[in-house]
Every structure is written in structure tokens, then in C-alpha cells.
């Protein structure tokens, strides 16, 4: 194992070293720092060019400059990073990168996680309904997404989604036309996804349409989009109802509703969450909220879920624990969203936001003052559009991959065995097919991450995010060698790490693969 790690580390270091060398030479050949001076008509043009060449050591061979750059970069290993500076503004690259990396990673991870969850779910359902109308529509949609230029969609999203949504927020509410169309549309989509004979589809359609229409009417009546929080008692009621629904859904997918112990465990964790509603609000008032506390609380929720499952006991308490832990995690998420919702009004009426919450430019409202909750809402309103556009890049890919691998898995002998020994369809799909079908995705994720980082060049440019992508684009057009190399170094290291993690995950998930040196 140690040898494996050492070997991987060595090859990775070699990859980063070689790729940065090649890129350094290419970037040096590609940019022309003297471009502006050459085009200008200053009297002492020659002298200025001479001086800049000396300052940037343009007359030295590329390899010499690379070695010097590398010396500075190697300093990062012992805390003395020197990646050079932007020679126009004299901002050091490390300083520029420190903010940009976080910004871009937020964007890239938000987009990738959304794409994996959505794409895998849609892909699997599409595979289960192979050759149905649903399957064909999904296939067509994924082809369309493959063919959409990201920058074009980004400009569209900026113009339509953001501006129209903000206008709509002034007087929110759904007309009868909208309610009818959305209800019918979601009914048809869910009916097609769940499949079955016409009676079943009609029932699903009816139930979904009524539920969606009711929900939209409720949102209308309560002016949800102006005041998401309806007073705490109502909020608690809504959260409890949603939690119970989630408990049933999670149990249905993980163990089936006939496993009463699991169902009761899930419901218990919803109950605990509801009971903690008021204490939690007090808790947030008394502490200085931060992401660290949020993450810790999420872990606590998982722990409580496991404990609840264990408490209900039974011969197979592990399954109850899993179900309860997942439900508890979702319940904690609901509480978190509720707490955010209570700050929504304060956010929208903040003088810096001016009632137009969905942002089109930048990665945060400048000089926004406020609590952790206000800042979080601000991050979310800013990340929404760029990440949705980025999702477009990879969503189709994940759909196609998970569809193909599910089809492959469903044809395997062990699925036939599982069916023939009388397991329910749910067990066959969720326990035997789903897990194996997700395996190949582990090797797709790093490749896709790199593509999404490339796509971030486009979304960050359109939405004016000050992330790494924009830094790269600006540095390339501004003829700045060092910032470009800073970007290349970070992306190279990131790619190497992503591949390494993917290999490890694959080895953990698939017992057929052995980590050998």
C-alpha cells in the first residue's frame, strides 16, 4: 500500500512537472508582453521595450525562466510560495489565486454534485424504462444538451432567468394558466418516469397534478416568495409534514415500507428533528454561526440517525440505521433551509440588494454586511445561475453514462439470479443494480471535473465571477505569464489529485480491483 502511494505520488509529481514545463514554453510563445508598446507611438518606444524586456527577462531562454519559476513554486512545499506577480499591477499570483481558487471550486463542485445526482437519477430511470417515450425524450434532451454552447446559454440565462425572475419577484404569484400547465406537465413527466400500465399512469398523473397544483396555490395564498417564513409554528408544521414525506420516501427506496423497524426509525428521527426546532433557533441566536458548525451539526444528525436505528434494534439494525441516518440528514437540511428562509426578507430588503436577489454579475454582493445567514443566501443567489449553466455541460454526460451502465448491469447474470430467487423489484434495482451501475461513474468524474473547470472559463467570463477561469482569461489577454502559470499549476495539481482519488474510490468500491504496487 505504501509503495503504491509512493509510486503514485512520484508519477503524479512527474506529470505536473512535465506538463508545467510544456505549458510554460507554450504560454511564453503564445503571449507577447511587448504588444501594447509595439503598437503605441511613444517617442521612447524602443527604450521602453528594452526596459520591459529586461524586467521580464524576455531575452533569457525559456528553460532558464522556467527553472526560476519552478524554484519559486517549489517554495510552496515549505510555506514560501513565490509564483511571481502580475507585472502591470504588481499583485502577487499567490494573493490573486487564494481568493480565486475558493470561488471556482465552489462553482465547480456545486455544478458537479448537481449534475451527478440529477444525471444519475434520470439516467437510471431512463434505463429502467428503455425504449419508452420517457427514454426517447431523455435521449433527445441529452443530445440537445451536448450540442448547446455554454456561453450562449449563459447569456440567455442572464438575460431571461435572472432579470425576469427578479421582475416577477416584485409581484410574485402564479396565474391559473401557469398552475394548470405546470401541474399537467409534472404529472405527465412523473407518470412516464414511474411507468406501468395506463391505469397506474393515470393515477400517478392525477395525484401529482393535484399535489403540484395544491402546492402552487398554497405558495400563492401565503405569499411564499415575499415571506418564505410564515411564523414559526406554521414553519414547524410544514417542516414536519415534509419530513414525514421524506421519511416514507427514503424508507421506500432503501428498505421498502414493509420493513416497519426502518420506517419507525426514520419517523423517529423526523420527530427528534421537529422537537429540536425551537431549541435550534435559540442555539443559532446564541452562537456565531459558521460553516464549521453547520458541518458538525450535519455529522451529529447522521450520528443521531444511526443511534435511533440501533435503538429500534431488530436483527438487521444496520438497515434501519442507514435509513434513519439518511432521513435525519435530510431533516437537518430542512432545518437549515428554514433558518435561511427566515433571513430571506432581511436579505432582499438589504439596501445593497435592492429587491433584486438573483444576481447576474460577480460572485458576491460587494460590501454586503450581515450575519452568516445573509452571507450564505448571498452566495447561493450568486452561484445559482453560473452553476446551472455549468451543469448543462456535464448533466447529459452523466445521464448517458448511468443509462448505459445500468442497461449493462441489468443484463448480468446476478440480476437474473436475484430476480429468480424472488427478491422484490425494489431490492433488485436498489441493492443489486444501482450500486454496480454507479461504479463506472467513479472513473468518469475526474475527466468530467476537468471539463467543468474548462467550462468555468466561459461561465465566469459571462457572469463576471472573479474566479480562476476569469483570472486565466484576463491574464492571457493581458499577456501576463505568471498568473497564467499559476492557473496552470493549480489545475494540473487538481487534475492529478482528482484522478488519484477516483482510483482509490474505485478500489474501495470494487473488490475485484486490487491496489497493487
Amino acid at each position: 500500500m505504501i509503495i503504491f502511494f509512493a509510486r503514485r505520488f512520484l508519477t503524479s509529481a512527474l506529470v505536473v512537472l512535465t506538463s508545467t514545463l510544456i505549458m510554460y514554453a507554450m504560454v511564453a510563445a503564445s503571449i507577447d508582453p511587448l504588444e501594447e508598446l509595439r503598437g503605441g507611438n511613444m517617442a521612447n518606444k524602443e527604450a521602453l521595450m528594452e526596459r520591459l524586456s529586461q524586467q521580464l527577462r524576455l531575452d533569457d531562454p525559456v528553460i532558464v525562466r522556467y527553472i526560476d519559476w519552478l524554484k519559486g513554486a517549489l517554495g510552496c512545499t515549505y510555506g514560501q510560495c513565490d509564483l511571481g506577480e502580475d507585472w502591470k499591477t504588481h499583485e502577487t499570483v499567490t494573493h490573486a489565486l487564494s481568493g480565486a481558487i475558493v470561488t471556482t471550486l465552489q462553482l465547480v463542485f456545486a455544478a458537479t454534485i448537481l449534475a451527478i445526482i440529477g444525471g444519475a437519477a434520470v439516467g437510471i430511470i431512463s434505463a429502467l424504462r428503455q425504449y419508452s417515450g420517457f427514454d426517447y425524450s431523455i435521449t433527445f434532451m441529452s443530445f440537445l444538451m451536448y450540442s448547446l454552447p455554454v456561453f450562449w446559454v449563459a447569456v440567455l440565462a442572464k438575460a431571461f432567468l435572472a432579470i425576469d425572475f427578479n421582475d416577477w419577484l416584485r409581484d410574485p404569484g402564479f396565474g391559473p394558466m401557469t398552475i394548470g400547465l405546470v401541474a399537467a406537465g409534472s404529472g405527465i413527466a412523473l407518470g412516464a418516469a414511474l411507468g406501468g400500465d395506463w391505469m397506474r399512469r393515470a393515477r400517478v398523473f392525477g395525484a401529482t397534478a393535484v399535489l403540484v397544483a395544491g402546492l402552487m396555490l398554497y405558495l400563492n395564498v401565503t405569499d411564499f416568495f415575499i415571506r418564505p417564513s410564515q411564523g414559526r409554528a406554521v414553519d414547524l408544521l410544514v417542516i414536519t409534514v415534509l419530513g414525514i414525506g421524506l421519511a416514507f420516501l427514503v424508507t421506500l427506496l432503501s428498505t421498502g415500507l414493509r420493513n416497519r423497524k426502518a420506517l419507525y426509525s426514520a419517523l423517529t428521527s423526523v420527530g427528534i428533528g421537529a422537537a429540536l426546532y425551537f431549541p435550534m433557533l435559540e442555539f443559532w441566536n446564541s452562537v456565531d454561526a459558521s460553516w464549521l458548525i453547520v458541518i458538525l451539526l450535519a455529522l451529529v444528525a447522521l450520528g443521531v440517525g444511526i443511534a435511533v436505528g440501533y435503538g429500534w434494534g431488530g436483527p438487521d439494525w444496520g438497515r434501519s440505521s442507514r435509513t434513519a441516518a439518511f432521513t435525519a440528514f435530510l431533516m437537518a437540511g430542512l432545518l437549515f433551509v428554514d433558518r435561511l428562509g427566515q433571513s430571506w426578507n432581511a436579505y432582499v430588503h438589504n439596501p445593497r440588494v435592492k429587491g433584486r436577489p438573483l444576481a447576474t454579475i460577480g460572485s458576491g454582493t460587494p460590501n454586503l454586511e450581515g450575519s452568516f445567514w445573509i452571507q450564505t443566501i448571498d452566495l447561493m443567489t450568486h452561484i445559482a445561475l453560473p452553476s446551472v449553466t455549468l451543469v448543462l455541460i456535464s448533466f447529459a454526460g452523466y445521464t448517458r453514462y448511468s443509462r448505459a451502465s445500468t442497461l449493462e448491469v441489468l443484463n448480468q447474470d446476478y440480476i437474473r439470479t436475484a430476480r429468480s430467487k424472488g427478491l422484490t423489484e425494489r431490492t433488485v434495482i436498489m441493492r443489486h443494480a444501482f450500486r454496480n451501475a454507479m461504479l463506472p461513474l467513479a472513473s468518469v468524474v475526474p475527466v468530467d471535473l476537468i471539463t467543468v473547470i474548462g467550462g468555468a472559463l466561459l461561465t465566469e467570463t459571462v457572469f463576471g465571477w472573479h474566479g480562476m477561469g476569469k483570472m486565466f482569461v484576463d491574464a492571457m489577454s493581458g499577456n501576463l505569464q505568471d498568473p497564467v502559470m499559476g492557473y496552470i499549476l493549480v489545475v494540473g495539481i487538481f487534475a492529478v489529485i482528482a484522478n488519484f482519488v477516483a482510483d482509490l474510490v474505485y478500489a474501495v468500491l470494487d473488490p475485484r480491483i486490487r491496489v497493487n504496487a
Partner: protein, 352 residues
């Protein structure tokens, strides 16, 4: 004996695909359909039966016909004039705000796609941009396919150190997003002709194809017909060219097509960022970036270039999908209920 059908699959009474009964029936139909046909004929037949692929093929053909004939093109020393009244970069008298016209000397008016802010005809610009996109797509396709094919087959055939070396080379290239390397290369060739940029982009888009070809070759080289060729004294080059490449052709053709549709998006994205095609050459991506702020006042400047990018990429994608289905022997067309019933009857007769 019949297995439980996949949930929610097919109407009752019909043998579900994937079950044993369904398999034999489908095989019977399929065998009958391909009796006495060569591999190429089977592939061609399946391709032409693929509705999506055919619509893609027709669309791309019509787009090319429109784009090349309307504004004309230059082929080396020959300058082919087009039938459209305006040249792409010519300034035409402004008609009002430059809205798309619906009437005039021709049924669709003198500026069917409108005019830009200085009076250039958007139809002519979009047609020229479409030409650029298609040209770049074809060059990238040819270059990347050639390199990917050579590197993949050499790595897969010889294995060992050569394979290691070539695969590490591909690893190096895929470390960075293709858009990033493309931007560096594009910036290097800003003042060069379009084809040079396209060749450069071809030089960085081959790794996926090379990996797939290598995988294909690794399995092919263990097959008996390769041994047979080697025993009968064929040279390495001949084995690769005559025995292995034809068998890997499916993978190569399909993935080249998919690579070409990605190439359209790559070129337009690079031009959008300003590292691709620059004036006086016209690119659809560059048009969108130039006019993105005019979106609210002159939406036609934005819609048409985007629409043509999508049309090109989508049709090429559909062609690729059709090719994949045609080349994949495991891919089954679901026969209609009537054909299934007929095959079932025939099988019963045989069994009696």
C-alpha cells in the same frame, strides 16, 4: 420458460426485450434480415434505417448547401461567388434599427436575419460563420482522427514501453481542459489563417480516440485471424492496416463524429473568449460575444448565430448516434409487434 419482464416494460403478452423468448425471436428476425449481406452492407442498412441519423444527415447537408452557396467561398485560387446580394463584411445601408425584414425585393426581404449596429447583413455573417465552423470541424476531425488512430493502434499493437510512453503522453494532454490548451494555442495563432488554428486544435483533441483505439487493438491482437496473418508471413504494417484497422473502424468512425460535434463547440467557445477566430474572419462564437450586450435591444444578433451552432452540433451528434447503433452488433432494433408475431409463427412451424 420466460423471465419476469423489466418493470414497466412493454405491453402484456408481448415478449419483453431481454427475455430468452424475445432474444430468439429477435435473432431469428435479425438473421433473416442480414442473410447474405456483407458487414458494410449491414452497417449501411442499419444506418439508413435510423431516423435520427437520417434527419441529422439531411439537416447538415441543407445547412452546408445554404452556407456555401449563399455567400460563396474561396478554394485556393478559385473564388466561387454566392447568390446572396450582400458580402459578409460589407456595410449595407441601415434600414431603421436593423430589424429582420419580411418583405422587399425578395419574399423574405433584403435582411432576413436583420442587420448589426453598423449595417452589416446578419444573414451573410451567419452563413460565413457557419462555413468557418464546418471547415474547422472537418479539419479537426481529420487531424485528430489520423493522430488518434496512429497512436492508438501503435500503442495497442506493440504494447510494452511504446504503449507506456504514448499513454503517458495522452495523460499529459488530458491533464488540462481542452479549452485552456486551446486558448494558449489560439492566442499563439491569432494572426494566422483559420486552417492553422484548426490543425492545432486537432493536435490536442485526439487523446480520447487514441485510448479507445488502443483498447480495441488490445483485444483484436489476441484474435485468431491476427495470428493466422502473422503465421502466413504478413508484415506488422500489413497486419495493422489490412486486418486490424478495418475491425476497429466502427470505434474510429463513431468517435470521430462525436469529436467533430465537440469541435464545433470548442471553436465557437474559443472565439467567444477571443482566443479563436478573429476579424476579418467570421465566427459564430465571436458574433455572440460581440453582440451579447445588445441582447435586449437587438435580440436577432444573438439568436441566429446560437441557433446555427446548435443545429450543426446536434445534427452531427445524431449522425454519430446512428453510426454507433449501426456498428454495434449488440444493438438491437426492436421489431414491431407484427414482425414478432410472424417470427413466432414461423418458429412454431419449424418446431412442428
Amino acid at each position: 420458460m420466460s423471465l419476469p419482464p423489466l418493470i414497466g416494460d412493454g405491453a402484456p403478452g408481448e415478449p419483453p426485450p431481454g427475455s430468452v423468448v424475445g432474444d430468439t425471436l429477435e435473432n431469428a428476425i435479425e438473421l433473416k434480415e442480414v442473410e447474405g449481406l456483407s458487414q458494410g452492407q449491414i452497417v449501411r442498412r442499419r444506418f439508413f434505417a435510423h431516423r435520427g441519423a437520417i434527419s441529422g444527415l439531411v439537416t447538415i447537408f441543407l445547412i452546408m448547401l445554404l452556407a456555401y452557396s449563399s455567400v460563396g467561398f474561396t478554394l485556393g485560387p478559385i473564388d466561387v461567388p454566392g447568390w446572396w446580394q450582400w458580402k459578409p463584411n460589407a456595410l449595407t445601408p441601415m434600414l431603421g434599427r436593423g430589424d429582420p425584414t419580411t418583405a422587399g425585393p425578395l419574399p423574405w426581404g433584403s435582411h432576413p436575419f436583420g442587420q448589426d449596429t453598423v449595417g452589416r447583413d446578419v444573414f451573410a455573417l451567419v452563413m460565413k460563420g457557419t462555413q468557418t465552423s464546418i471547415n474547422v470541424m472537418i479539419v479537426i476531425g481529420v487531424v485528430a482522427a489520423t493522430i488518434g488512430m496512429i497512436i492508438g493502434s501503435v500503442a495497442g499493437f506493440f504494447r510494452g514501453n511504446i504503449d507506456q510512453l504514448l499513454m503517458r503522453l495522452t495523460d499529459l494532454i488530458v491533464t488540462f481542459p481542452v479549452l485552456v490548451i486551446g486558448a494558449v494555442l489560439g492566442n499563439m495563432f491569432v494572426r494566422s489563417p483559420v486552417w492553422l488554428l484548426a490543425v492545432c486544435l486537432g493536435l490536442i483533441t485526439w487523446p480520447t480516440l487514441a485510448r479507445l483505439v488502443r483498447g480495441e487493438f488490445l483485444t483484436l491482437r489476441e484474435r485468431e485471424f491476427v495470428d493466422a496473418a502473422r503465421v502466413s508471413g504478413a508484415s506488422t504494417f500489413r497486419i495493422i492496416r489490412k486486418h486490424m484497422l478495418p475491425n476497429a473502424m466502427g470505434v474510429i468512425i463513431v468517435n470521430t463524429t462525436l469529436l467533430m460535434s465537440a469541435a464545433v463547440l470548442l471553436e465557437t467557445a474559443l472565439s467567444f473568449l477571443g482566443f479563436g477566430i478573429n476579424p476579418p474572419n467570421v465566427s459564430l462564437g465571436k458574433m455572440i460575444s460581440t453582440y451579447q450586450n445588445a441582447f435586449n435591444t437587438r435580440p436577432w444578433l444573438f439568436w441566429w448565430p446560437g441557433l446555427f451552432i446548435i443545429l450543426i452540433a446536434l445534427s452531427v451528434n445524431f449522425i454519430g448516434d446512428g453510426l454507433r447503433d449501426a456498428f454495434d452488433p449488440r444493438q438491437k432494433k426492436i421489431p414491431s409487434a407484427r414482425k414478432m408475431a410472424r417470427a413466432a409463427r414461423q418458429q412454431e412451424q419449424v418446431q412442428e
